[in-house]
Amino acid sequence: MGMTIGEKILARACGKDVVKPGEIITAKVDLCMSNDGTTHLNIDIFEKKLKGEKVFDPEKVIFIVDHNVPAESPKTAEVHKKMRNFAQKHHVSFYEGAGVCHQIMIEDYVVPGQLIIAADSHTCSYGGLGAFGTGVGCTDLTSIMHSGETWLMVPETLNFVMEGNFRQGVYARDLILKIIGDIGADGATYKIMEFSGSAVKNLTIDDRVVLCNMAVEAGAKSGLVAADERVIEYVKSRGRHEMHLFVSDEDAVYEQSYAYNLADIEPMVAIPHNVDNVVPVTEIGEVKIDQAFIGSCNNGRIEELRVAAQILQGKKIAPYVKLLISPASKEVYLQALEEGLVDIFMESGAMVLNANCSVCWGGCQGVIGEGETLISTGTRNFKGRAGHPNSSVYLASAATVAASALVGKITDPRGMIG
């Protein structure tokens, strides 16, 4: 019986030829990462409780300050200081203000076939490059920092077979919202969501990351796309040459398969307060917005910024509406500057923020007040996620968010592009 990509990666990680769903393995971790959302807790556990003296391998431990950067309060500054001091003492890689952790990992670390564990639920993003990423809490992460390994159960795999091409104004973001709406917020609990089919070759790396990033919003352990030439070329262009290329066997066993034709997908919106509460933008009715946000580990990369710029070029956002844009990394920001996108954003009336998690997680600048409505390319629309407990968050593609910012209410972006 064959294996899926996810099973093959886990087999390699635990040094076996074959693993099966349901089997509990002890796996060696290729990389572990932690951000300022919770690293202060890891450090407390590591130093005070575990009485750890060294991390297992400083080159494989990465600390990234991205959630509340620059610090908005002395309490947060204290958290950052603690991370900085630990990183210096233990010589682990340290980034501060360079972008959203997952984007930095993709730019600087991830290669196909790795097992990467991080204290952040959106670690599943790395599946876009054919790596098995999964999120854990800080206790598990601390034990990995210490030992370089962890136990986990091999998940079942769900296969999302995609064919066709997106129509104009429709993006990977709309597809993943549609899928989560179809299977539900627990539709993939502890499963691998594998994205496959003839459509994959036409999907950019950004598209693939968009799909895998939100796998956790359906409860998945990880999202995965088999790495192909496009990924290999990207990873090599970043100076990384060692990789483990896996594809699912023809006789691999999937718990279930789903078929999607990309041409059937419309712009989708997740309405408050659950990510699986998804409707086509055409059915949303009149929803006025107070704020719009483009950014986050899901949708702040150069391709999304280009789409937003296409829609915003030469136009002004609606009166009394704020549009906040945070490129996913410093590198993306510089690219956007070079391409003139930042000029377009600022001329349209948008505020361009530094690269960070920003409005998506509601911990820093850009929170919304009581009764306010946000449309966002962020990852979650939970109650109170972006500010006041009585506020509303809608999720959509960068195109839908940009179009909505221009009109002042949630708007179908088709017909507004170019």
Binding site: G37, K75, A119, S121, G135, D140, A185, R380
Partner: protein, 164 residues
Amino acid sequence: MKENFTGKVWKLGDDIDTDIIIPTQFLALKSVEDMKKYAFHPLRPELASLIQPGDIIVAGKNFGCGSSREQAPEIIAALKVGCIIAKSYARIFYRNAFNNGLLLLENDVLYDCCNEGDQVTVNLENSQVFLGEEAFPVVSIPGDLLQMVQAGGLVPFMRKKNGK
């Protein structure tokens, strides 16, 4: 933790996410003791002050979905909740809960049968939960996981094992 205990039920619905359990703006508070006052704040701001040690949270499906923030199970454990009995759990939360000494049990039916304020009795030895005379089966928790919960979580459990 005793193998038999009774507690008063607080009912929460489906998809209780980690941002409801502990909203982002309270994560930088210095201690879990400071944070626990804000448990479930966006949904029921008064709830954290009403929960008494030993009370039991009964919830619907996909409890703990969302972020990997470990403060979520940590503050529920700090409120000294006896256990959570939900239809199902998000898996990052599931593991974080046991790592922090918070017992999670699963049952599909109890939620629809009980009311807030009811007393339920947990019998871990027989993997059952009682609402009055009626028994509801729960998945058996293996001995070492139970010992971990009893020790207060993974780290205290490891220290105990290592004699530190």
